[in-house]
Symmetry: C2
Subunit: 230 residues, 2 copies
DNA sequence: GATGATTTGTACGTATGTATA
DNA sequence: ATATACATACGTACAAATCAT
């Protein structure tokens, strides 16, 4: 989708703004419902309004901000329903990638996935949520790649990225690490065994279970309702 | 994704340009590889370069054009591999929607789908490809909706839309209409029977078969290679 | 309900980076 | 390899629309 803009050297102010604004939103600096004033943002980042406008439009298509014609841009505040649908869509996409991986992964890919999974047990025994989270991203990315379908992988990665803010402390919940690792195990086993249906089911179950940790959801939702001052 | 921009009243020049340019590209007026000069486009559509720029960015995120920083925009020319991946992604998404429809469609939705399918047999017996194509879009859209997942439906519809130019005369191939209708029948039967696995398989098979009619692919691909004058 | 302030949408000029001779 | 031509990226000015009073 944005290969040429994000990779390469992409030395345009707009590209930098897309990244910086995205980070600011996902780090919670800008909260859902906050107005994104073009002038203020231009001042803050030391550029003119033009790149700010373009960056806002980019972010709108990725769903992070909402732009209403002539009414300005705000940080997108997802409703609980919409959020649940996004999690559901991500689960389905991941399950599909898992199924395709079971069918089409090369022997090397299967072995690497297995090895990576086994290496993650260290984070479980040492109870290292940060390390596990990083390795977890790699784990899922390997499965996206194993589907051998660029657009599908991009969509899945995009959804995961977009839902990141709502999954923050997911691995800090007591008992989550070993459970997640066990669920990963079921996925890996199915993929290595080339069992498409099992791979699909295992991944769907894994990602769906993660949905339950919505700790930021309530806060975000309440905030978005409260900030409707109009 | 673009609800606020496309619906509402959306009276901005940029929005109109997105539609008009999109139409021009998909109708074949602009061919893959063609340069999209901001000045020329601004002249042609009677606006300044600013809305042209913004429209090009919008289209870039939907994959219709490719913008390289400081090197201009061109109509995206898909490679054969990429195109195959897009078709594959669409097949998987549609199959997923079909599976979810089998699980979660309301009785009313199931009956309406069945009724719509049965009404399509008229186009088959009368050999009306245009009519069938229109009804076919409705058929697939009903299944997107039946998945009860907005983001998933948007992604599937977006892919279908984007691949439209490469599927032009699909129903003009002799024997396609009855075959498509029969494949639809299998999908409907599985959905009505709430058989998730069968619904998935039937839709995957249906959409994958359609991939075979790539009549525009060869032309587009050849053109894109030929126009690489550099 | 009308008026004013603020903000977005649009136009256009300038500068920088890319591709050419 | 250097220079020239050109298109884009950015900045700024103005117009139109929204909202707040």
């Amino acid at each position: 989708m944005s290969e040429a803009q994000l990779s390469d050297l992409a030395h345009t102010r707009t590209d930098r703004l897309v990244r910086d604004l995205s980070d600011a939103i996902m780090s919670g600096e800008f909260e859902p419902g906050d107005r994104l004033d073009e002038h203020s943002l231009a001042d803050r980042f030391g550029v003119s309004r033009t790149p700010v406008r373009e960056a806002l439009r980019q972010l709108a298509t990725s769903g992070l901000v909402e732009v209403r014609p002539r009414r300005g841009a705000v940080v997108a505040s997802l409703t609980a329903d919409r959020l649940a649908e996004l999690f559901g869509a991500m689960a389905e996409l991941e399950a599909t990638c898992s199924r395709l991986s079971a069918i089409g992964m090369s022997p090397v890919e299967r072995r690497r996935l297995e090895a990576h999974h086994e290496s993650m047990s260290a984070f479980v025994t040492e109870n290292d949520p940060e390390g596990f989270a990083a390795a977890n991203l790699t784990f899922h990315t390997m499965i996206y790649a194993g589907a051998h379908n660029g657009p599908l992988a991009e969509m899945a990665a995009g959804l995961r990225q977009r839902l990141l803010p709502y999954r923050r402390a997911q691995f800090h919940t007591p008992g989550r690490l070993p459970r997640s690792h066990a669920e990963h195990g079921a996925v890996v086993e199915a993929i290595v065994a080339a069992d498409a249906a099992a791979a699909h089911a295992a991944m769907l179950r894994h990602v769906s279970l993660v949905e339950d940790s919505f700790e930021r959801l309530a806060a975000a939702f309440t905030r978005s309702k409260a900030s409707k001052t109009a």
